[in-house]
């Protein structure tokens, strides 16, 4: 068994920052990651990091913008922490050598971004995420922090207790992708999940193939609630064949959207008669899909983004990267033809419920980055606010996990007296197929399905051992079967229904259909098998395990979306076209509850350090 003080699962911006912070506090920390750190999807971020660094700007203004952008579903203590800590964390990156773009006076550059009242998006070319990721990894190398790279974490080692709030996390189980060896990892102080977004739930996404929601799904099954999962951001301009992002910058520079019959639909069909192509992301995404649904899409699938009129010089000067992307990934030359674009899944606002120290309700278990929900983004994330979240909350969780006192968190995880039980009318039962019995599907991941020694609190090492045994059983089972259904088929089916029914447009009928389809996939998953017999680099096995996580994540997103009968931020419901503050100023939480998911709500915290945020109409 491997043993460390702090184990960080994931090596994107959030995980690396957490590991460095824990190390600086003197902890023996190790990173366990399914990808080598520099391969993490943080590297794909383009735009920048929001930080109030300059005269005329303030953390308060940043907080105000963020709260408004969240459509009043972000928690003030989380938002204020983000905005207060971001300047120092951003400059810390600079001190670690990050190659930010520069002004004439040698200071770091900032640019305007949607929804911001001050140009505070600090950037390094159009490759901010790449530089952030590499700069942090360099610091990990410098400190000699141990990295278990290409180790896939498949289970958390959590004690068994009927009440999740009394559970403790003592480690993880992972397998070495290269050799197939399965091993237990004991964490003396804490486990920090930093596994990134769940974009692969959809078939068209800007997220990497590795973004499979492993962290939230594992934590969920171990008893930690998922929060605000229904809030998914769709970006209006992604390339149809791959989902690669075409930056908002194209429209910012004057790029025009056309439908199949050459209409400038944003104006001509009245979607945004003032702002046109520059309306907010959700408005443009819905307009594009309406065009396609009404038969005016190109090839019945997408619309055209045309920048040819900007002229070669200007395009090369400011949008060169876009030419590479469109050429390499779509085979289209943006100088001579319009680029095909359509909306794509981009970001998950929801995730594992945590407080502002990154802690979940299971003691010893933390979550940070896109897999977590603190919540700073509420129902809609502002561009440039995810990267600061990684470094701010990554650093806090790392310190806290190492044992540093950060003061008591204001946000309370788990149930309190303000908790409200939710209800939703589902067409099929959600959750485990055999909820309640001893089927492995239904128990918390670290639990012992046979309930041996129930009632006795086991030693931490024993918890890890048991989780290891359970994981070995699961893997052997998947490997031994030699017929059934394969994960690729199930994945395609799940992604298809999510993209059709839980997309930009959501209707009651569609969401219910999605739940039926998810159920069917879950049932079929009972018969899933791994065809590749090899233990060496078995990506078939890895993807099969990821598939299980996609099912749980998809179901959580859809349940939350069906229950929330209002239109807020990124969540649009056909039947309910208004934000309904009297009913819905609250977070959606979903607990696995040993296989019978339970929906509940907790109020949003609008009281900040020295003011209370008043919900207003979100207009720009």
């Amino acid at each position: 068994m491997h043993e460390h003080d702090v184990l960080v699962v994931g090596a994107g911006g959030a995980g690396l920052r957490a590991a460095i912070a824990a190390h600086e506090e003197g902890a023996d920390v190790a990173i366990v990651t399914k990808l080598h750190p520099v391969r993490s999807h943080t590297g794909a971020a383009e735009g920048g990091i929001n930080a109030a660094l300059r005269d005329g700007d303030s953390w308060q203004d940043h907080a105000y913008d963020t709260m408004k952008g969240s459509d009043y579903l972000g928690d003030a203590p989380a938002i204020e922490t983000l905005c207060q800590d971001s300047p120092e964390e951003t400059i810390q990156l600079e001190h670690w050598g990050m190659p930010f773009s520069r002004e004439d006076d040698g200071r770091v550059s900032q640019r305007p971004f949607g929804g911001l009242s001050f140009p505070r998006t600090t950037y390094a070319g159009a490759e901010t995420g790449h530089h952030l990721l590499h700069t942090l990894y360099q610091q990990v190398v410098k400190r000699g922090i141990q990295v278990y790279d290409e180790w896939y974490v498949s289970r958390l080692a959590v004690t068994e207790d009927p009440d999740p709030e009394k559970r403790e996390c003592h480690g993880i189980v992972a397998f070495d992708v290269q050799t197939g060896e399965v091993a237990g990892f004991r964490a003396r102080k804490g486990v920090v999940l930093a596994t990134g977004g769940p974009g692969q739930v959809f078939d068209h996404t800007t997220n990497a193939v590795s973004c499979t929601g492993d962290g939230p799904a594992m934590a969920y099954r171990a008893g930690v609630p998922m929060e605000d999962m229904e809030f998914i951001q769709f970006h209006p301009t992604t390339l149809p064949s791959t989902g690669v992002l075409i930056s908002e910058g194209v429209r910012g520079e004057g790029g025009i959207l056309y439908n199949d019959i050459g209409e400038r639909f944003m104006f001509e069909h009245g979607y945004a008669s003032n702002d046109g192509e520059l309306a907010s992301r959700d408005v443009v995404a819905r307009a594009e899909l309406t065009e396609v649904n009404e038969g005016r899409g190109v090839d019945d699938e997408y619309v055209h983004l045309d920048m040819r009129h900007l002229g070669e010089e200007r395009i090369i000067d400011r949008l060169e990267n876009i030419l590479h992307l469109a050429g390499d990934f779509e085979g289209v030359d943006g100088l001579v033809e319009p680029m095909p674009v359509k909306p794509g899944q981009h970001y998950a606002m929801g995730g594992i419920e945590t407080d502002e120290n990154g802690e979940t309700l299971v003691s010893g278990l933390y979550a940070v980055g896109e897999c977590a929900c603190v919540s700073v983004h509420g129902s809609n994330r502002l561009g440039g606010n995810a990267l600061p979240e990684l470094i701010v909350f990554g650093a806090r969780a790392g310190r806290h996990a190492a044992g540093t006192d950060l003061g008591e968190a204001i946000i309370e995880t788990g149930r309190t007296e303000d908790t409200e039980i939710g209800e939703v009318d589902t067409p099929v039962a959600p959750g485990a197929i055999h909820a309640g019995d001893t089927d492995e599907d239904a128990v918390a991941d670290g639990g012992d399905p046979r309930g041996e020694g129930a009632g006795v609190i086991p030693e931490p090492n024993e918890v890890v051992e048991r989780a290891l045994e359970a994981e070995n059983r699961r893997i052997d089972h998947l490997m031994e079967k030699d017929e059934g259904v394969q994960q690729a088929e199930l994945r395609a089916k799940l992604q298809k229904t999510m993209t059709q029914n839980v997309n930009v447009f959501r209707t009651e009928a569609g969401l219910k259909q999605a739940l039926r389809d998810i159920r069917e996939v879950r049932e079929q998953y009972q018969d899933v098998y791994v065809d590749d017999p090899s233990r060496t680099f078995n990506t078939d096995l890895q993807q099969t395990i990821e598939m299980r996580n996609l099912i749980d994540t998809a179901e959580a997103i859809t349940l939350g979306a069906l229950a929330r009968d209002e239109f807020r931020g990124a969540h649009w419901r056909q039947e309910y076209q208004e934000r309904r503050d009297e009913k819905w100023l609250k977070h959606t939480l979903l607990s696995w509850n040993d296989g019978t998911p339970e929906l509940w709500y907790k109020p949003v915290i609008l009281e900040g350090e020295d003011k209370t945020y008043e919900p207003k109409v979100r207009s720009y």
Binding site: L35, G43, G97, F100, G106, L325, D328, G331
Partner: protein, 293 residues
């Protein structure tokens, strides 16, 4: 095992671009590379139209654990062709529809994670960045040469990572501003100078293309040296540290090994002028040596 051996057995054809005589002029090289790319873009448009419904790919297979894969072989797959399809799309399709044991690294699908450098029709390229329509068929896909093969298209990256880490790839300075909110100053020119060096995505294409690295496994190699360049030229680090960095790259298996063959520069998917970086470090080292002695 090493793919190098298989390559010889299989007699992989070499891309025309690689067999041209080497020019000492970096600019011209990059220019040629750009022209080649432009040309292939134009040709690809035509081919898209001509291409049949499916495309044939031949993929290298090897698995030390599985009896019928212990002897390296090529498997042929016929994949439905779509406009915009990349080599990565094609191997993913083959895996998801024909053989789930087909193994390769990939993640971002947008040339930023550096996972999927393969040897495609005799040249190091990223699978996700290579349009099928630009290639001769059948498309031959092999693991990176000069690296140990773990399975199918997956190579062991450990030695590459070790070389990358041998150049102290992290920022060092003895002179940080006092305040937590006070950044170091850097001129635009200096940022521009190190910009290309900071773009590396650790794909190892350059290393795999380099004859010197193939013959000397301790040679630091193009990407690590360019990484050193990125720091050595960063004015924020200061002169004392620059001296230290130059000593690292000047050692026996350092910059002097490079014979300016430009193969690394030719294959780099991020267009990093690697040979030029190496040459400039050589010049710097000479200057410094003059100063030391």
């Amino acid at each position: 095992m090493s793919t190098h051996a298989t390559q010889e057995q299989e007699g992989a054809e070499v891309d025309a671009g690689d067999s041209k005589p080497h020019s000492p002029h970096q600019d011209r090289r990059l220019q040629e590379k750009a022209t080649r790319e432009e040309q292939s873009q134009r040709e690809s448009d035509e081919r898209t139209r001509e291409r049949e419904e499916t495309v044939e790919i031949k993929v290298f297979r090897y698995d030390p654990e599985v009896a019928e894969k212990q002897e390296p072989r090529f498997d042929t797959f016929h994949v439905p062709f779509e406009k915009g399809m990349t080599v990565l799309d094609a191997v993913m399709y083959a895996r998801d529809h024909y053989d789930s044991s087909l193994t390769f690294r990939h993640s971002c699908r947008q040339a930023i994670c550096g996972s999927d450098a393969f040897f495609i029709n005799g040249r190091q390229r990223l699978g996700c960045q290579t349009q099928i329509a630009e290639l001769d068929t059948p498309v031959r896909i092999e693991p990176l040469p000069h690296q140990e093969v773990v399975k199918d298209l997956v190579v062991d990256m450990d030695s590459f990572y070790e070389q990358m880490e041998a150049v102290e790839p992290y920022f060092q300075t003895n002179d940080l501003p006092e305040g937590d909110l006070d950044e170091q100053r850097q001129s635009r020119e200096n940022r521009e100078k190190i910009k290309m060096g900071t773009r590396c995505i650790w794909c190892a294409s350059c290393m795999s293309s380099c004859n010197i690295a193939a013959g000397d496994d301790q040679y630091l190699g193009p990407a690590p040296i360019s990484m050193a360049y990125r720091f050595a030229m960063d004015e924020r680090e200061g002169e004392d540290i620059q001296d230290h960095r130059l000593r690292i790259i000047e050692q026996e298996h350092g910059v002097w090994r490079c014979q300016t063959q430009f193969s690394c520069t030719n294959v780099c998917p991020k267009d990093i002028p690697l040979t030029e970086h190496i040459q400039e470090l050589k010049r710097e080292a000479v200057k410094k040596n003059l100063k030391f002695w």
